[in-house]
């Protein structure tokens, strides 16, 4: 491996060297810093070269190879691996200092992410980056950078990917710890990163939280460290690889810078972007690069971890760093190399310890350079990385301002682990580092910040400013503010990128000059300050990245979209960007990163995780894998614990990535649905978006599409720019598949499930069933409501709809259920208005009667009447209703009860509800007008008590009607007497003062007898 790496490195180095002085600078710095680990340096350089080679190999071979190389390197000489990676990156960086930086950044970013989140982040970032680089980035950014670097050359990168695979393998062991997650995240990230640097960062950030955090500290840290380290180292290597790969890719396509920029943008957007990136990555190259990355990470992490822990960045990170340091020397060298040369990496590594800080500073410087370059080329990428680096550097840097870049990176790496802790366990001692990391992360990695929440960014900013302040190695707060200011001035991605680049330069210079901490950044002019202070610049850059990151995120996302447009990830990125600000995004990234990592692992290493993840969740794999990894790995769990949001985000990112890659498994869809439901709010949007995108990429289900549409519509306000306005709602309408005729009504609380919605033909059968059902009204009402719901959900508006509503309205009338009737009536009104045929007249009559008899509103009545046209007025039912109205308004009870007896349709039912009132009015009137008595038989006849009999046999049926009437009269306080002939008479004079309206027998306090619990239970079917 080493040889391979070296060989590759050599190539890469060659390329790297040629590529950029900066890379060399970095390298040198790293070397100089590596002096910390001279051997490391040497090894680093060698490793770097090897790394480069690895990277190249990875790049060339495929990220996985590089990652493998990295792994190997990391494993063997983690340093070497890292170095190799670094070298690779360096080479790339050298070739393209920026690219290297970018790679570094990416790795850093990853680291950063890891810092905040822990490894996961880094992993993510790395993975993202890696992925992005390798996969997408590789192609793009890599292509961009690659041109510079050997990356392009980087065929090695391919080898890297392969190596990454090996790494993953190594990582596998690690993976169990964090590496897996990391790897997972890495893969995820890689995928992301590949897609977007930013995403990568974000992812990494996210990843960290999830995996790194969980394991956090030790395990995670270790793993994460391992990852980180691996990431750093390996990551670096991977990153580098990824970066390299990317760079290679970039080299191939020169895209690196762009990518970086994009990444930077992404970073700025990063968190969000990362997610997208991750998505992209996940979707496309996630696994490969991610795998490679992850593989690398794991390996490196495992190795690095230990070493890093010593590094003490945060113990874990330190441990990871240590390894990284040791290896780190290599790694740092690698970093340096990455950045621009192994040296810087070495330096970083060296600095990581303390050196780390210094190194980090240096590395930062170099990173800065790289970043600068990268930033310039790919501000975001650099930023993200830088941020990480910054963080690291900050935390570390505080010790050593210069080391920053590497250190920062490492720190970032370290921080990442710590970050995870922080994220998950801020309480950990790492918290400081974490904070730093966060701050750095924030600066460097918005994702982190976002992960840690905006606060981290602020912190980061402050950290950045206080590179020395932040932790020992943090940037002065003023620098952070400075960066913030600078970024705030940025109005678009390009500006941000430029800003980032400038910032990097400034900070790098400041760091180099040692003025980073001494400068009054608050007074420092913005942007016009290219050199003012390297450290400051870095910090500023970092901070700028941070500040810019958010912006970038947005703009990056856009850019990413534009660039990535082909990729669904872009959308996710955008979304993620919008979301990116939120921790969730970060988390998502992290998660994604993990997933990506897992994928990458799977791909590269074919690790169980990946396979699992991927297998389990092809598209979802990312998320699930991430989750699973998390679950499986204590680290992951820790990460999850650390931030459910981040997990979710990660899952989201994973979704994205996985979605792309695996995209459209039914499981995924379901999961997506559920997730989308879960995250319907802010996160949900992202997820949904992600979902959608993946779905889009793959084969959007109605579900997903609908969910997406919903999400989009919801998120429109938030994201604003989603351009979801023109949905084809018809395409999103549910098509029912349920064949059950009977279905209980349940008010929907979520998007309808096609499997529970009945298509139209089944609904027709259901309607028929209800028609013929002998069950009680409650049952039939329930069935009809479910039919109505299914119709509504499927947006069916035709004669069947009218029939259903008419049927229900009639049933409700028969049962005297006015509220339900009114619902149907109002629906029918609109349906008729649309010209759908139905029993228009009948229901016009019902409506009229309803107004007359029950609303008792003259204005409504007048308006209802004025709406009737001539044709309608000639309808029998309407005529009847109008006659009833006249009878009611004039109080003509005789007419009323005649109409009552000959009412067509269900007019009787409506009149039924008014009969009691009418009778009472009539009796009151009679008792006032008649003297001395009225025969009850006459009253019974006039007031419709003989309803059981027809007019013909009134006299025969008088008996029953009479009895009923007498009972009614008595109930209402009428005075009845019997005259000489034995006929019952109403004593009108006595009754005129004694009549009263009795309380309804079934009256209940709350006014609705149907609400009585017992009654309801007894009446409810089933």
């Amino acid at each position: 491996m080493m040889m391979m790496n070296q060989g590759v490195n050599a190539q890469t180095i060659a390329s790297a060297d040629p590529n950029s002085l900066e890379g060399r600078y970095i390298v040198d710095a790293s070397q100089g810093k590596t002096s910390f680990i001279p051997s490391v340096n040497g090894s680093e350089t060698a490793s770097w070269t090897t790394h480069r080679v690895d990277n190249h190999s990875t790049e060339n071979g495929i990220l996985s190879n590089p990652s493998y190389h990295h792994d190997q390197q990391t494993q063997q000489p983690a340093r070497n691996a890292q170095d190799s990676l670094n070298t690779a990156s360096l080479s790339s960086s050298s070739t393209q200092g920026t690219t290297c930086a970018v790679q570094d950044y990416s790795s850093y970013a990853a680291y950063n992410p890891t810092d905040p989140y822990g490894y996961g982040n880094s992993g993510y970032s790395t993975s993202y980056y890696n992925n992005g680089y390798q996969q997408q980035t590789n192609n793009h950014s890599y292509s961009q950078q690659q041109p510079n670097h050997s990356y392009s050359q980087q065929q090695p990168s391919h080898s890297y990917s392969s190596t990454v695979g090996s790494y993953q393998n190594t990582g596998a062991p690690y993976q169990p710890l964090s590496s897996f997650q990391n790897t997972g995240s890495y893969t995820g990230t890689t995928s992301y990163s590949t897609t977007y640097y930013n995403p990568g960062d974000y992812q990494t950030a996210g990843g960290y939280p999830s995996s790194g955090y969980n394991n956090q500290t030790p395990l995670w840290n270790d793993p994460s460290y391992a990852n980180y380290t691996s990431q750093q180292y390996s990551t670096y290597a991977p990153d580098t690889t990824s970066a390299y790969s990317s760079s290679t890719a970039a080299s191939t396509s020169m895209n690196n810078e762009q990518h970086y920029k994009q990444w930077a943008d992404y970073y700025s957007q990063t968190e969000v972007i990362c997610a997208p990136g991750t998505e992209h990555l996940s979707a496309a190259s996630k696994t490969n690069q991610g795998s490679a990355m992850s593989g690398v990470y794991p390996t490196s992490s495992t190795q690095p971890t230990s070493s890093f822990t010593p590094a003490s960045w945060r113990t874990e990170s330190a441990s990871s760093d240590l390894p990284s340091l040791q290896t780190s020397a290599t790694i740092s060298t690698a970093h340096d190399g990455w950045k621009q040369g192994v040296p810087s990496f070495q330096n970083h590594h060296a600095s990581p310890m303390q050196p780390h800080f210094q190194y980090s500073l240096d590395s930062k410087a170099s990173y800065d350079n790289f970043q600068d370059q990268q930033q310039q080329t790919a501000p975001q990428g650099p930023n993200s990385q830088f941020p990480a680096a910054h963080q690291v550097t900050q935390s570390y840097q505080s010790p050593l301002p210069n080391a920053p870049s590497l250190d920062t990176r490492r720190v970032n790496m370290m921080q990442i682990p710590t970050n995870p802790r922080i994220a998950s366990n801020l309480a950990l001692g790492l918290s400081k580092t974490d904070k730093d990391g966060f701050t750095t992360d924030a600066a460097a990695k918005p994702a982190y910040i976002s992960v840690s929440m905006p606060k981290p960014n602020n912190k980061v900013l402050s950290n950045d400013t206080t590179i020395s302040m932040l932790k020992p190695g943090k940037f002065p707060n003023s620098l952070c503010r400075y960066v913030e200011r600078a970024f705030n001035l940025c109005k678009d991605e390009t500006q941000r990128v430029a800003c980032q680049a400038i910032m990097k330069e400034i900070i790098t210079k400041a760091t180099a000059n040692g003025t980073l901490n001494t400068l009054d950044w608050d007074v420092e002019p913005l942007f016009s300050i290219p050199n003012s202070e390297a450290v400051n610049v870095e910090s500023s850059q970092y901070s700028s990245p941070v500040s810019s990151l958010p912006k970038y995120k947005r703009s990056p996302s856009r850019r990413s979209k534009s660039r990535w447009e082909p990729l669904p990830e872009e959308k996710s990125v955008d979304k993620s960007v919008s979301i990116s600000n939120d921790i969730v995004q970060y988390g998502g990234w992290a998660r994604k990163a993990p997933s990506a990592n897992s994928e990458s692992k799977e791909n590269a290493v074919n690790n169980v995780k990946f396979s699992l993840l991927e297998q389990k969740l092809p598209s979802k794999n990312n998320q699930r894998p991430a989750k699973r990894q998390h679950l499986a790995d204590g680290l992951n769990a820790a990460n999850n614990d650390a931030s459910s949001d981040s997990d979710k985000e990660q899952s989201l990112t994973a979704y994205y990535s996985s979605a792309k890659s695996i995209a459209n498994t039914p499981e995924e869809k379901k999961r997506r649905e559920s997730r989308s439901k879960r995250f319907e709010k802010g996160q949900g949007y992202r997820t949904e978006v992600n979902y959608f995108k993946p779905k889009n990429a793959g084969a959007g289900n109605l579900y997903s599409r609908r969910a997406r549409a919903l999400m989009l519509s919801k998120s429109l306000d938030d994201s604003g720019s989603k351009a979801v306005e023109d949905f084809d709602w018809d395409a999103l309408t549910v098509k029912g598949t349920c064949q059950e005729i009977e279905k209980r009504y349940l008010r929907l609380t979520s998007a309808p499930d096609p499997s529970t919605v009945r298509p139209e033909e089944v609904l027709e059968k259901a309607l028929l069933m209800v028609h013929n059902s002998q069950k009680n009204y409650l049952y039939r009402c329930d069935q009809l409501k479910s039919i109505r719901q299914d119709l509504t959900v499927q947006r069916i508006q035709n004669q069947l709809t009218v029939k259903v509503y008419e049927t229900h309205a009639r049933l409700a009338l028969e049962a005297g259920d006015l509220p339900e009737y009114n619902q149907c009536q109002s629906q029918l009104k609109t349906l008729y208005a649309e010209g759908i045929e139905g029993c228009h007249m009948e229901f016009a009559a019902y409506n009229l009667l309803c107004v007359i008899l029950h609303s008792n509103n003259n204005r409504d009545l007048v308006s209802s009447m004025s709406r009737l046209n001539e044709g309608t007025k000639k309808d029998k039912a309407v005529k009847h209703a109008l006659a009833v109205r006249a009878a009611v308004t004039s109080g003509n009870y005789v007419m009323f009860f005649r109409l009552y007896k000959e009412a067509p349709n269900l007019n009787t039912c409506l009149m039924d509800l008014y009969v009691e009132k009418m009778r009472y009015r009539a009796v009151t009137c009679m008792s006032r007008s008649y003297r001395p008595t009225i025969p009850v038989s006459y009253i019974a006849q006039v007031l419709g008590f003989s309803s059981t009999s027809d007019g013909n046999d009134e006299k025969d049926s008088d008996g029953s009607g009479l009895e009923e009437c007498v009972e009614w009269m008595k109930a209402h306080g009428a005075c009845l007497t019997t005259d000489n002939s034995g006929e019952m008479q109403l004593d009108t004079k006595a009754s005129s003062s004694s009549l009263y309206m009795p309380e309804p027998e079934d009256a209940v306090a709350h006014g609705d007898a149907n609400l009585a619990v017992n009654d309801f239970l007894t009446r409810t079917p089933l």
Binding site: N858, V862, S863, T889, G891, R928, S929, Y930, R931, I934
Partner: protein
């Protein structure tokens, strides 16, 4: 679209107006309020013409409601409240959301600090017109009579269009409390649709009333007086019975107070209105119940026994008992 310019300026104007202690800018406010309503109406017409949902007037209503809130408090600006109220009435009546008038009316009528008579006359007339119309809907005829009469009395005599609008509602109200207008009034203000209604009341011609209602049903429904006019039927019955009573009295004063149901049925038949005994008995019972006829009905003999003193009391500006 038309409201766009008009909506922004008031938005700038009203905050300033709110801060001015004196009411010196009331005239400007009047113009703004008026223009808002007019523009909103036009915009709605345009929107409806283009198939869009017209909701500008609604927006104007909610905006003017805020303006009203500024004016309705204490201070010199209160004098402008009634104008805005009237603009609100116009909007609400146009939109058919007259229930929204209630809160405005309450705040005008319950405020003791400001005598209603201190408002500008034109606003008072408009206000009384609209509140009178509301009372017509509520079938609160005495109140409607009071308000519409106030509006009529204070309306500028040269503003015949406004007088006609007031009479359109005042005449049915007056009819339902037993006051018939002179023919020249109907002619002068072109309210000929009430001619036959009044003739029917005078003659006790149920058929003429029904024909008149049927003929102008759309118009009456639109203005909302259809139900009011329909209730005049009882007065027509009363007039018919009174005529029968007078005829009976001329033939046989001693038995004039006993009116056989058959006679009434026969009279209705002569009017080509087909009603059987039960229905007529019911009508008579209602007439007695509503105190349009004094007396009682003997079911056994199917005879209406009229009071010997004033069997058909005049309404005397009181509504028919309900």
């Amino acid at each position: 679209m038309l409201t766009t310019p008009s909506k922004k300026q008031p938005m700038l104007f009203f905050p300033e107006f709110r801060n001015w202690e004196s009411a010196w800018a009331l005239e400007a406010l009047y113009v703004v309020a008026y223009e808002i309503r007019i523009l909103a109406e036009r915009a709605d017409r345009e929107l409806a013409f283009n198939g869009k949902s017209p909701e500008k007037l609604k927006g104007a209503g909610s905006f003017l409601m805020k303006v009203f809130g500024v004016l309705a408090g204490k201070g010199p600006k209160r004098v402008g409240a009634l104008y805005v109220t009237c603009q609100l009435f116009k909007i609400y009546f146009k939109l058919g959301t007259v229930n929204l008038c209630r809160s405005v009316i309450r705040s005008i009528e319950t405020a003791r600090i400001f005598d209603f008579e201190e408002f500008p006359k034109r606003d008072k007339v408009t206000y009384m017109y609209y509140t009178g119309r509301l009372e017509v809907f509520n079938e609160n005829f005495p109140a409607a009579d009071h308000k519409l009469s106030y509006a009529l009395m204070h309306c500028h005599p040269h503003n015949e269009a406004n007088i006609r609008m007031i009479l359109k509602y005042l005449i049915p109200v007056k009819l339902s409390i037993g006051v018939l207008p002179k023919d020249w009034l109907l002619e002068k203000y072109g309210l000929v649709e009430y001619n036959n209604v009044i003739q029917a009341l005078k003659r006790g011609d149920l058929r003429l009333l029904r024909e008149a209602l049927e003929e102008h049903e759309d118009r009456f429904l639109r203005s909302g007086v259809f139900l009011v006019l329909e209730k005049l039927e009882l007065q027509v019955y009363q007039r018919l019975l009174k005529k029968i009573y007078i005829i009976q009295k001329q033939r046989d004063p001693s038995k004039a107070h006993q009116m056989k149901l058959e006679v009434i049925v026969k009279a209705l038949k002569w009017l080509e209105i087909d009603m059987d005994l039960d229905e007529v008995e019911c009508i008579v019972a209602i007439l007695i119940y509503k105190n349009l006829v004094k007396g009682y009905f003997a079911h056994k003999s199917k005879v209406v026994v009229l009071s010997k003193q004033d069997p058909f009391p005049k309404l005397n500006s009181k509504p028919v008992n309900s």
